[in-house]
Amino acid sequence: MLSQAFARILYRGAIEMKQLLLGNEAVARGLYEAGVRVVSSYPGTPSTEITEAAAKFPELACEWAPNEKVAAEAAAGAAVGGARSFCAMKHVGLNVAADPVFTMSYIGVNGGMVLAVADDPGMHSSQNEQDSRNYAKAAKLPMLEPADSQECKEFAKLGYALSEEFDTPVLLRLTTRVSHARSVVECGERREIPLKEYKKDPAKNVMLPAFARPKHEKVEARTQALAEWAERCEINRIENNGAKIGIICAGAVYQYAREAMGDSANYLKLGMVYPLPQKLLRDFAAQCETLYVAEELDDFIESHCKALGLEVVGKELFPRCGELSQRLIKKLLTGEEAPSAALEGPLPVRPPVMCCGCPHRGLFYALKQEKVYVSGDIGCYTLGASAPLSAMDACICMGASVSALHGYNKARGEGAAKKAVAVIGDSTFIHSGITSLIDIAYNRTNSTVIILDNSITGMTGHQQNPSTGFNIYNEPAQAVDLEALCCAVGIRRVRVVDPYDLKLTRQVLKEELEAKEPSVIISRRPCALLKTVKHSAPLEVSGEKCIGCKACMGIGCPAISMRDGKALIDPTQCVGCGVCTALCGKGAIA
């Protein structure tokens, strides 16, 4: 008989190839196994970990591109060049990448190409709740939607087979609950796929109108062929439990529905959400008395069913906003819900905050003091909108701070420009702030743009970018010289400040707002969470000197609180940045 310890060792060996992977890590594993060679992405929650995990496989050449459009084009070029290639982005990233994606649909591939797009129903970390399935239909591209990590891996691999068989890029749709859930994955080996031969073929690859017209015909025929494939593929499957009700679903919603209803419903689980089958849906409808379409966000599957003349219950029951869950589905379908207790009265909320020592804090405090209009952007510094800093007036999308400030100043004139700034992070500026700055220089508004250079892409969890001097492998790389870049597009006033130096920051801010020409202020200090950043000793409040005026509380530092009428600094959190020291009129903080 095996000893228990030995049995455990054997067991551990067996689970080596059975791993608990994030959906995103499983997609990366799928890329590895599928013989992918080139990966180019821009970080964006909840898609970021795919490319981070892919970079751990030496067989894959991975990179962080300046933005999603560039990333998708790099992947497209690799596919034309005969390699299996990949690109990942969050849902709003697909808006940026849409231009090449729509035309790559016409060109098709040589080596297979898969683009992952991660939607964020419930907006855990996003500015909108758009449903990327609409892009599949609009760009006429097949879209697969996995429901757990094992499917993430399998569907990524299947994506390449489909891509090469049907001569099309393939979209892989994820959502937060699939990307960021761990489940068991059986790992396999990598299959090396040789580079395909490249042959010059302008009719296929050069999208002039004369070449594009016949390609459009081909795209329409391809969609028809894929719709036929959807009828017979294994990833669209019926689970008939002999029940009266049937639920059509895909992705995470399948898991919620299956958990909520168990064997008391039949399921049509769709692994491909575009193009959708017709006969399979009709067959399933014939097996059920009442048919539901459970889907998050838009009525994408539902409207297809209704166009087929099927009687389905969809958005009249299920919400269009936010996530579904097993509880919600059960409640809507059966009226039952598990009992749940709550304390009386509201509890204080705990919103995310800028970290202790965050370089953005000093800069936002200065903006608040100057009472300026702040045109904001996407990143950690969007937290500058929260109390007590409350220093943000608008925030639209990546790069919009700069162009929207230009528009604001055009509309409201010189007086407004003296009281308005744009704030944009280093990575976001590289992503799409540069072209906006060119607009300011070329079409001339006396705008003041502040680049918050913290030497990293912060919000998504510390990715390198073209301004940091390192690539995805943390190897030294060419760094964009931000000062020289701003000068080169025609900004003659470029100043650099340390946001820990509140006095100088405010002075420079005043000078540049007054300037009679466009200017850029680079607020430069590395993110306090970077391992390379050395922290100073924690600061202390002198109980004798502190008069409890709360001036130090105005910066919203999580290390500072009031106890018995005096300020108190938590030594386990404080990194000694000294911004609060400058605010204390009594010299009580040292």
Binding site: R12, D148, A181, R327, S340, R350, P351, G556
Partner: protein, 191 residues
């Protein structure tokens, strides 16, 4: 075990809650269960409320835990424990670190930190096990082991096999910190 077990782990961004879900997931995978772990990354890491779900059983479908579904709640902070109460099954067990961390509305004086939260949770039917994990972690040798103390305290409510857990701890922490973490785990397990 035919029923799926649900463990909800809550705390404040930066407290090390993800290690708890990794250790728990790894231990249950070793026991041969199907396991799903739901995490949310991004905004929530910046000092905000963080929530992780671990579910295990013969076959697990949803990776999330909804209201009224958690068998066990592991809370790294009192206010976060109270916030998660609606997610507990009636009569479920809450392992709660007694530590309090002021959220921003309390720091800025717009709200007060509520008092008597654990007693209020018990009144609502939760079985509360309060653990002074900070003190126990100091006893183990470092305040940084607070999370492993709490994992120990939770582990005893899920499976009495201490060796199974310690093997999972070993698989999830760097080798050089194992001795410290083993001590912290055992202190929590006995709490």
């Amino acid at each position: 075990m035919s029923q799926t077990k649900s463990v909800m782990i809550v705390g404040v961004g930066g407290q090390g809650t993800l290690l708890a879900s990794r250790i728990l997931g790894s231990a249950m995978l070793q026991k041969g269960y199907d396991v799903k772990v739901g995490e949310v990354h991004g905004m929530s890491q910046r000092g905000g409320s963080v929530v992780t779900y671990v579910r295990f059983g013969e076959k697990v479908f949803s990776p999330v835990i909804e209201r009224g579904e958690a068998d066990v709640l592991l809370a790294f902070e009192q206010l976060e424990a109270a916030r998660a109460l609606p997610y507990m099954k009636s009569g479920g067990t809450a392992v709660v670190n007694t530590q309090k961390i002021d959220p921003m509305p309390v720091v800025t004086g717009q709200a007060a930190y509520p008092q008597g939260l654990l007693a209020a949770m018990e009144e609502k039917g939760a079985k509360v096990l309060a653990v002074d994990a900070l003190k126990l972690s100091e006893e183990a040798g470092s305040q940084k082991a607070v999370n492993v103390v709490l994992i120990g305290a939770m582990a005893r409510h899920l499976d009495p096999d201490e060796d199974l857990w310690l093997e999972a701890v070993r698989a999830c922490v760097p080798e050089k910190f194992y001795a410290l973490n083993e001590k912290a785990f055992r202190l929590g397990f006995g709490a």
